[in-house]
């Protein structure tokens, strides 16, 4: 990866950005930065401030809280938003379990990004609602 066109194409194929027009996608591709992580590399660190919002483009990552794997993340999944929205350090490490490519938005830019892209905000809300529903189902 990835030329600007390739990033626009990759964004267009993700549910999160499914409602955006091509010029909007090009604008988003300019704001997001691509990062690559080797296997076992940490992406986000539990209890460290200043993290960002990550969208998985390729590969796989695990959420590890206090040494225990609590979730697996794959293409199209995103993470880091809860820590950014609440202004608190992450409650889990995110570790690449295969070589991982992500698109990254600095935490401080997330608020403006969500306000200026309501269709993406709606998709994120849907995903959070699904997580909440699943957690509620699991709880006794």
């Amino acid at each position: 990866m990835a030329t600007q066109e390739e990033i626009v194409d990759a964004l267009a194929s993700l549910t999160l950005f499914a409602d955006l027009t091509k010029p909007e996608l090009e604008g988003v591709a300019h704001i997001l930065e691509e990062q690559y992580f080797t296997q076992d590399q940490r992406v986000l660190r539990q209890s460290l401030t200043g993290g960002g919002f990550y969208i998985v483009l390729e590969g796989e990552a695990a959420a590890v809280a206090d040494g225990r794997r609590v979730n697996t993340l794959a293409r199209g999944d995103f993470f880091g938003e809860i820590s950014v929205l609440l202004g608190e350090p992450p409650t889990a490490d995110i570790v690449a379990i295969r070589p991982l490519r992500c698109l990254v938005l600095a935490g401080e830019q997330l608020r403006e990004f969500l306000i200026s892209h309501p269709a993406v905000s709606f998709r994120i809300l849907q995903a959070e609602a699904r997580k909440l529903r699943n957690a509620t189902r699991r709880s006794p």
Binding site: P23, E26, H30, Q35, G50, A106
Partner: protein
């Protein structure tokens, strides 16, 4: 004919490719550590991109002739972004000896002379006019095919810059746009209508240069212009180039648009640029005399992707580890401005300064030490500290160390509790390495900045492989050698070095 140049083709422990600031700093630092190496360069002389650019012949990075520290002190490098870093006090702050005093931004020729002077005075040898052409593996060796023959080595370091012009291929008619690299002398744009694709420093540099000449200037790209004074980093248009933006916001005639470029046509000698607004408000068409794409540069890394080097971003930079090793091809390293693709933590979204000489010159020293240690078992000196000296030393470092000020949240001073030797100064290391590698108990001290622009020391304390973050208070004069900071640091260390 006798070959009078150094480093004939052959087998070397390390081969450094490039003679810009990155290659020169790494070669100097390897020599100081006793790592034998060859340096080859396609150029005829030292200087790298500064032999040609910036286009308008004036740098963006300053050197203050008068600063709180003398030129021969290591600490002076905080105020001097352009001199390479020397162990000998006599070779420090060389840029100050070359500038003519007309600006604290050196001219391009002054920067070129600064680098050549460093190479000459420190005895850096380079085989010039030797072009690296292709690469292969042969057992445990990397083999670099060049115009002067085959260079084999255990460790190659590619410090080849990020200066290969790049234009997007998905804009119909992009061939009608000149690249930044092909911009003509400013006076040839007298009375012309100029459309600049891009809104980063190179776009605003050209727009600034065209202000006295062009009839109409348009800058367009899909995302808004960022200004460094707002981002608190080198991400964004530098203050030196903000003039066209001020012209735009005051209605002076310059146009700054958030739009994608749909196509470029030429009819009867006139260029027609069709844009589509990023906010969906529709298309606009511009009739102009010149279109210039300031769409960036790529590193000329030739066949390295085919060899297994993963790349990232629209500039196709090689993905790297915290020690600037290819993230996908171990044993192969990068130097100089390519280090910008080893992002570090990017806390609060703030990038390192590895894309500039001010940042990557320090990486170069750390890289040389890492290669000496991991590939050639050469251990650098690690001074031992007394328990009572740790806090004053760390506070002095976070107040004065140029590594920590130019590479915030990226490089750190590391002190370890070594059961065998006592309290050991482990030197300057990538912060990310300290956080993720585990190891002896210790502390990594760095300078950080939050989103509001507050600057403060940050201490990362590792005990039994658990690391905790301690953000110390700021100070209006950025002097962290206060009683308050001493107390806060003692709390953070909590008897670690007692």
């Amino acid at each position: 004919m006798t070959d009078t140049q150094p480093f004939q083709a052959g087998d070397y422990p390390v081969v450094v490719v490039g003679s810009g600031p990155g290659g020169l700093q790494i070669s100097y630092s390897l020599t100081k550590l006793g790592v034998k190496h060859a340096v080859i360069s396609a150029d005829p002389a030292p200087g790298g991109m500064f032999r040609k650019w910036p286009f308008f012949q004036r740098l963006l990075s300053w050197t203050k002739p008068y600063a709180p520290w003398p030129h021969d002190a290591h600490e002076f490098a905080r105020y001097d972004w352009n001199s390479l870093i020397a162990d000998e006090s006599t070779q420090r702050g060389l840029m100050t000896t070359i500038m003519d005093g007309s600006s604290y931004y050196p001219s391009r020729p002054e920067m070129e002379r600064n680098l050549a002077t460093f190479a000459e005075r420190t005895g850096i040898q380079v085989r010039y006019g030797c072009t690296w052409e292709s690469t292969k593996r042969d057992g445990d060796r990397f083999v670099l095919e060049t115009t002067d023959g085959e260079y084999r080595c255990q460790v190659p370091i590619f410090a080849v810059g990020v200066a290969e012009p790049w234009k997007p291929s998905n804009i119909p008619g992009i061939e009608h746009a000149a690249h930044y690299a092909d911009t003509r002398p400013a006076e040839t744009y007298a009375g012309k209508r100029v459309f600049i694709i891009g809104k980063e420093n190179s776009a605003f540099e050209l727009a600034t240069g065209f202000l006295p000449w062009a009839r109409h200037i348009v800058l367009a790209s899909p995302s808004p212009a960022k200004l460094s004074v707002n981002t608190h980093s080198l991400l964004g248009v530098r203050a030196r180039y903000v003039q066209p933006y001020e012209d735009y916001v005051l209605g002076g005639g310059v146009v700054v648009l958030e739009a994608s470029i749909e196509k470029i046509d030429r009819h009867d000698g006139i260029l027609h640029v069709l844009t589509r607004a990023s906010d969906g408000s529709g298309e606009m068409s511009f009739e102009v005399d010149d279109v210039i794409a300031t769409t960036g540069f790529q590193p000329p890394i030739r066949d390295l992707p085919a060899l297994g080097v993963a790349t990232i971003g629209r500039n196709k930079l090689p993905a790297q580890t915290p020690f600037w090793e290819s993230a996908s091809l171990p044993g192969l390293y990068f130097g100089g401005t390519i280090h910008q693709a080893s992002p570090g933590l990017k806390k609060h979204g703030l990038p390192s300064n590895s894309g500039g000489v001010n940042g990557h010159r320090f990486n170069g020293r750390v890289l040389a030490r890492h290669i000496a240690q991991t590939h050639f078992s050469i251990d650098p000196a690690r001074p031992v500290l007394k328990s009572g000296d740790v806090i004053p030393y760390l506070l002095r470092e976070v107040t004065n160390a140029p590594e920590l000020w130019h590479q915030k949240s990226y490089l750190a001073r590391v002190i370890l509790a070594d059961p065998a030797r006592g309290i050991v100064d482990d030197g300057i290391l990538p912060l990310q390495h300290f956080l993720d590698s585990g190891g002896k108990d210790g502390v990594a001290a760095t300078v950080e900045e939050n989103a509001k622009g507050d600057l403060y020391p940050a201490m990362y304390v590792r005990r039994a492989n658990e690391t905790t973050e301690h953000l110390l208070p700021g100070h209006p004069l950025l002097d962290f050698q206060t009683t308050e900071h001493g107390k806060a640091l003692a709390v953070a260390l909590d008897g670690l070095f007692a």
